[in-house]
Amino acid sequence: MTRGARLLAASLLAAGLASGAPARAAFEPDHAQADVDAAMREHDYPFCREPYEPLSPDARELCDHASAIPRCGGFAAACARAAPPSPSPPPWWALWLHVPAWLGALAQILVWLVVAALVGLVLVPILRGLLRLGSTPREAPREALRSLVEAAAPPPEEVATGDEEQLLTRAQELAARGELRASLQLYLAASLRALDKRGALRVARDRTNGEYVRACADEVARPALREIVREVDRVQFGGQDPTADAVSRAGGRAVAIVRAAPVALLLLAMLGGSLGCGGISLARSRRAGDDPAGGELALELLRRQGAVVMGLGSSLASLPLPSEGERAPAVVVDVETTSLDDDTREHLEAWVKAGGSLVLLGAPTSWPKELGASYVFAARPYRLTARRLLARAIPAGPDEPQTGDDDEESAIYARGSEHGELVAGNGLAVPPEGETVARFDDGTPYAFMLPHGRGFVLGVGSDELLTNAGIARPGNAAALVALLSNADRTELRFAGAEDGVSPPSSPISALLRAGLGLAVAHGAVFALLLFVSAGTRLTRPRPSAPVRRRAFSEHVEAVGALYARARAAPHALGAFARFADERLRARMPRGSADVATFLASRAKMPVDVCQRLWARAMKARLDGAVLGDELTVLRELCALYAAAMAQDK
């Protein structure tokens, strides 16, 4: 099929689709300005009337649009306020004041020293707390005797259950009902629970109230805790009844302990707020659409133009490659906001080659190198003319012959062009295979369409037309619609700021990529040191329990069981026969050779019985055949042998 035929087919397809589509097709520049005006009316975007101030650098770059947008006085006023003051001549004394370069280095060192001091201020209490956990608390001379039993390490914790606030509430209820003893105990429990939670002490069932007081690391809470403990001890061990006044005092102390942390946090928050750290609520909050450099209006315009606009929702590096003939949604990447890493660029290039439609906006230096695009700056004024695509030729299949008629147009454009105006002349040098779809008045290309494999790339020199201020300028909406019609898709997926980073292959690589490599290394070293220190303590040699020696009888039984498992009863019988044979022959009188008869005479047993048993044993010794009587024979032979040898005693 020739390119002309494919173009015709595409036109017919577009016409067919158009006939079955709603009355208004997608990307119609004629309606673009009306859509923008309607969106502005309906959504009342504040970027024009009351933009967020101070204006961001991106918004300030768009200030030239302010005067051209109707009813945009707020933006113009904000631009006037944000205009940098004209450089004034330096004061007379500045000429005489020379700051030597080494002063900067000194200032840096001082800053680092301050940072180190702050870190030290945080770490020292933590380390002291850790050390206090592992050592006996320093005691007053009066309490020296107490260390006699506290030298050993403390036991595992048994932290009381229940929330301290609940305990406090229950204690107050009990006190109101007159159950003073129970109330007192709950006040103490609430205080201990709160201090335990705060890390000021450790609750354990073997610790006395006095130990809690002495171990309390919270210097402020300690006197209050001592008061409560004194009252509890007086009631419990002193045999005295609690008084309402004393319980009330203890309750006050408990409340002070329990609520000390929240109050401190509140004070810190207030302090932070007053210093501006946490004072966000005092500043003016951001509203949707209040940034002239934002993209809300452009997205709304595209929706009103019939496009399906969505966020990408995944990493660009993990876009699935489109299969042959598949019309995957176009992906819009603004490289000014979405930085692309090498893996992502590589994948995007492969994705386009496989048939994807990619819209790239912004500096071409951040685009994939394979596209061969570069910057060219246009001359003022930056008026823009964009062509609207009506139909594009279906790309040739890999097995279709090239007919050599490539000089034919590959796309059909609308007869008229759309005009807009920008504040920056960021043009592009179009690669040889590319086709310009928008240009400045001086002829500098602003956007081009570049076929790449089965897909194509729509490159745009800047993202200005996607900004609120840019699109609100009369004429620019139609230019944007005409421009994006070249993507040849009505479904657009906009990449987010983080989508240009390929997903990490492992948690470690994610940490490294996040710049936490050094922290991870420090953590690993710390973990190793901890492991070694704890391991060293745990590997202290301890004498193991002595191995119990097995009795000889147990050994014999074990050997017998081994023979039985190995079905080696004939072997056992043969071995015993050999053993008995050696010892009996040593005792036989010179000249005699019949062991069985000698055995019978020594054991005082019938000769035939002895001969039968001995013959069976000798047979087992010779052939080892299993007959099933081996153990019986062995037992009887053992008895005979024992009787025979008893003669020696």
Partner: protein
């Protein structure tokens, strides 16, 4: 005497002793507590750690009569108790009291004397009297024996029998002082301190006051929960697998008495578990006999006692 006066006297004695004794606070406190609890102290430590100085300082500060016996293998019981001597002039036997007739007796290196001689102390320590030639003679009150022994040298020593050990209220171990304390000790000597001359000390209490303190301590209230707690602690020593012979009921009583003194020294008229816990090791460490396997494994009595203390819950006020 009331509890406040008790506390003041206790503190005064401590402060007075601290004028000549640097460090060794456990030993000082243990000695005062034992004296008020009508107990005796066995001190174990290497030579040169101030054991004798502490005993002498207490004797001066409390106004008690002090005697010292150096225990040797050839020391005879009569060398301690005294004996009857024939008088030519009167033609009768006259009792010559031995050094045991003192209020604070320092039995130095008690394990150097054979068991027979050590036993001469048994009646004195238990009943505060001495029987010689069939006549019982009471000892002056208060009567406190401070016995020392060296843990390192074992040659030529006679370990104290269990019955004798049980008579001691506390066994206090004296370790090397920290460097800072040692520097202070040396500085004192460099400034002219003479440990044999304790004239700088003055008596801040009297034997009568100590007797009054003993009576007051005995009246300090002990709740049933505390008694149950300390009894449980002692009983656990009998069930512990690493301990061959646990502490006797006498240990429970000793623990109680020591806790009462400690409570009064804090100005309280009742005992809390907080008064019991600090005394446990000192009261029990010489009363438990470790299993040989545990000894071979290097487990000490203090370690086992600490384990037991950790295992026994402290009594709490029922909510």
């Amino acid at each position: 005497m009331d509890v406040t006066l008790f506390q003041q006297t206790f503190d005064r004695t401590r402060q007075q002793m601290a004028r000549v004794v640097v460090g060794q606070q456990e030993l000082v406190d243990g000695l005062i507590v034992a004296a008020v609890a009508r107990g005796h102290v066995l001190v174990e430590g290497a030579p040169g750690l101030g054991k004798t100085l502490v005993a002498r300082a207490f004797a001066v500060a409390s106004g008690c009569a002090f005697k010292r016996i150096q225990f040797t293998p050839d020391l005879m019981p009569s060398d301690i108790t005294g004996s009857s001597v024939y008088s030519r002039e009167t033609g009768a036997f006259t009792f010559m009291p031995g050094p045991i007739f003192a209020q604070l007796l320092l039995a130095d290196e008690i394990n150097r004397a054979p068991a027979k001689t050590q036993s001469a102390l048994l009646e004195a320590m238990q009943d505060h009297q001495v029987t010689v030639d069939g006549t019982s003679r009471p000892l002056p009150g208060p009567f406190v024996v401070v016995a020392t022994q060296n843990p390192v040298e074992s040659q030529g020593t006679y370990p104290l029998p269990e019955a004798q050990l049980d008579r001691f209220l506390f066994k206090l171990t004296v370790g090397d002082p920290p460097a800072e304390v040692e520097r202070t000790i040396v500085r004192h000597h460099a400034d002219g301190f003479d440990p044999t001359d304790l004239s700088a000390l003055q008596a801040v209490t009297s034997p009568q006051e100590i007797l009054a303190m003993q009576r007051l301590a005995a009246s300090v209230r002990v709740d049933d929960a505390v008694i149950a707690y300390l009894v449980e602690l002692v009983r656990r020593t009998r069930d512990d697998k690493a301990i061959e012979l646990g502490a006797s009921p006498r240990a429970s009583v000793a623990l109680l008495k020591a806790a009462q003194v400690l409570a009064a020294s804090e100005g309280r008229t009742f005992v809390t578990p907080d008064d019991v816990k600090p005394m446990i090791a000192a009261v029990l460490r010489h009363r438990v006999l470790l299993h040989p396997d545990a000894q071979l494994q290097g487990i000490s009595a203090d370690e086992r006692i600490a384990e037991i203390v950790r295992a026994v819950p402290v009594p709490r006020l029922a909510a």
